[in-house]
């Protein structure tokens, strides 16, 4: 899969048109909000344009040439997702609007299918709201209870505590593969095995992790997996839900509409087979098709290279930031986390800091990052987050550090 010669970050950056020009204030853009969404390489942009200008039609409906081409392209994209996550067949790949939609689908459809009063759903303390709120809604409806796996004192997923919480009432274990705040990861195979040992299904929220540690669902025993196109250099508006064939067969549909039915009668309907059963209505056609070049782009660069490159940035950022007086980083040691640094700076409100960093072109995010229960235990209501992508450079890390120094001066902290 890997290209023969190793890529350079310069050659990668060239492929992102948005990185080729300063912002409207003439500043070089240092985009460090990759955890929220990533920029798009030319090949992804081109693919959406190709669809719209060469053979656009609705999907799975027309026998005419454009319709057939769209169907073929969608199936190729499904296949590239299958390959990315190591699923058995492309019929296990469902296109959705995003991770949030995928997780809601699971909560509503699988949740109502299996949960009874007193049953338990296990999440962790570091989940994104997308992997909390849908479960709360379904727990309220079904009488199930949510239990949270704590973090240890180094902000790591506490595997021992997890195994103690697991019990025969556990029906669902749904965990993030990587915290979008801490960068902390989980031991996927072990967690899956433990979940299965009590008869629970294991759901992986791979929104942050799929790009860094591509899952291997069959080997790792992942039952369901969700991720978003826009976080892996793909288009906005499309996401993926993977489900094991036999589970997809058991799971009732969630959204009703065109394409997901077999027959519609006055008072009830019968369902098509997966993936159609879970793809009600018109798909995000151009977006689902343009997910493939994003996946191919990443594979071409090679996951090892990405991992090494991002780790280098993470280490440099961590070393520099730790030197700044009053700056506190939240998360495990760099050796045990993804390329995310969340921090607070004493005397500086995260909102002010994020604004002031942007005065130097540095784009970082501030707030609770859709992880309020985590911030509850961090003991702060908001943090500033720098998250790195494959196009970020060592110089950009230095600019982040320099911008923080400048902000401290501005805020009269230095």
């Amino acid at each position: 899969m890997a290209s023969l010669s190793l890529p350079t970050v310069e050659s990668i950056r060239e492929q992102f048109p948005i990185l080729q020009h300063p912002d409207s204030h003439g500043r070089d853009v240092v985009y460090l909000d990759n955890g929220a969404s990533t920029q798009k390489p030319q090949c992804v942009i081109d693919k959406e344009v190709e669809v719209y200008t060469k053979y656009y039609a609705n999907a799975y409906r027309g026998v005419y040439e454009f319709g057939q081409r769209i169907d073929d392209e969608l199936e190729l994209s499904r296949e590239s997702v299958r390959d990315l996550i190591g699923a058995e067949s492309k019929e296990e790949i469902i296109f959705t609007a995003g991770t949030t939609m995928s997780l809601n689908l699971l909560a509503y459809a699988w949740g109502s299918h299996v949960l009874e009063p007193g049953d338990e759903i296990i999440l962790s303390r570091m989940e994104h709201h997308a992997n909390i709120v849908p479960w709360q809604l379904i727990a309220q409806k079904t009488g199930a209870t949510i239990r949270y796996v704590p973090l240890d004192d180094q902000y790591r997923f506490d595997e021992q505590a997890f195994e103690q919480i697991l019990n025969s009432r556990t029906k669902i274990v749904s965990l993030t593969g990587m915290s979008n705040v801490l960068g902390a990861t989980i031991p996927v195979s072990q967690v899956a095995e433990a979940a299965h040992s009590v008869g629970a299904v294991f759901i992986l929220d791979a929104a942050q992790s799929v790009l860094h540690q591509p899952a291997d669902v069959m080997k790792q025993g992942v039952d369901f997996l969700a991720f978003s196109g826009h976080k892996i250099y793909g288009p906005s508006g499309v996401g993926v839900l993977y489900g094991k064939q036999e589970l997809l067969e058991q799971m009732p549909p969630f959204l009703g509409g065109g394409h997901m039915i077999d027959q519609v009668f006055d008072d009830h309907s019968t369902w098509a087979a997966a993936p159609a059963k879970f793809e009600a209505g018109t798909l995000p056609i151009a977006q689902a098709i343009a997910l493939r070049p994003a996946i191919e782009f990443i594979k071409e660069i090679d996951f090892d290279w990405i991992e090494k490159h991002e780790k280098k940035l993470l280490i440099r950022a961590t070393e520099q930031l730790q030197e700044i007086p009053g700056l506190k980083i939240y998360g495990p040691d760099v050796s045990e986390k993804g390329a995310i640094v969340s921090f607070t700076l004493e005397g500086a409100h995260p909102q002010d800091l994020a604004f002031l960093l942007n005065r130097h072109g540095v784009c970082v995010r501030h707030g609770h990052h859709c992880a309020m229960p985590l911030h509850e235990i961090l003991g702060v209501s908001a943090t500033v987050r720098a998250s790195f992508g494959l196009y970020n450079t060592v110089e950009e890390v230095d600019k982040l550090t320099e911008a923080i120094h400048q902000a401290r001066k501005k805020l009269r902290l230095a």
């Binding site: 204030h25 409100h349 909102q351 604004f355």
Partner: protein, 148 residues
């Protein structure tokens, strides 16, 4: 503490000064940076005001706000502070608008118009607008209470 606050209106920027500066800057980011500057110059409030009672809800960051009427005729004195300097800048702006006004005047003031005039409205996130609305509401309620 009250004594120090009484002197504020003189040391803080007036509404005219703020409007002039906004017009001069004419760039939303520079304007917000100026808000931060205003916020940095805002005097601290008494620690005793930093309780749930004075906390304004609907704010992305914490703001504690109290309104007093001093002198005869009774003139408005806004005392407020946030942990975010951008918000403190908004506080400074509200002080420039309301401090030294009578309750009657305060009730009549159309804050929205002033914000439109500054062009600020467009540049505040929905949450920050919520917070701002929360502060204005507190001030208006205090003015109305003073009148009854």
């Amino acid at each position: 503490m009250i004594d120090r606050l009484r002197e504020e209106p003189v040391t803080l920027s007036s509404l005219e000064e703020i409007i002039d500066e906004f017009d001069f800057l004419d760039d939303s980011e520079a304007q917000i940076e100026y808000l931060i500057d205003l916020g940095l110059d805002l005097p601290a409030i008494d620690q005793s005001l930093k309780t749930e009672q004075f906390l304004v809800h609907g704010c992305q960051s914490n703001v504690w706000l109290d309104v007093e009427f001093v002198g005869n005729p009774a003139l408005m004195l806004v005392k407020a502070e946030s942990d975010a300097m951008i918000v403190n800048g908004l506080v400074a702006l509200l002080m420039a608008i309301f401090n030294g006004k009578t309750a009657e005047q305060a009730v009549e003031i159309n804050v929205r118009e002033i914000f439109d005039r500054l062009g600020l409205d467009r540049h505040l996130s929905p949450q920050r607008k919520n917070g701002l609305n929360g502060m204005v509401q507190r001030i208006k309620v205090a003015a109305r209470q003073q009148l009854t």
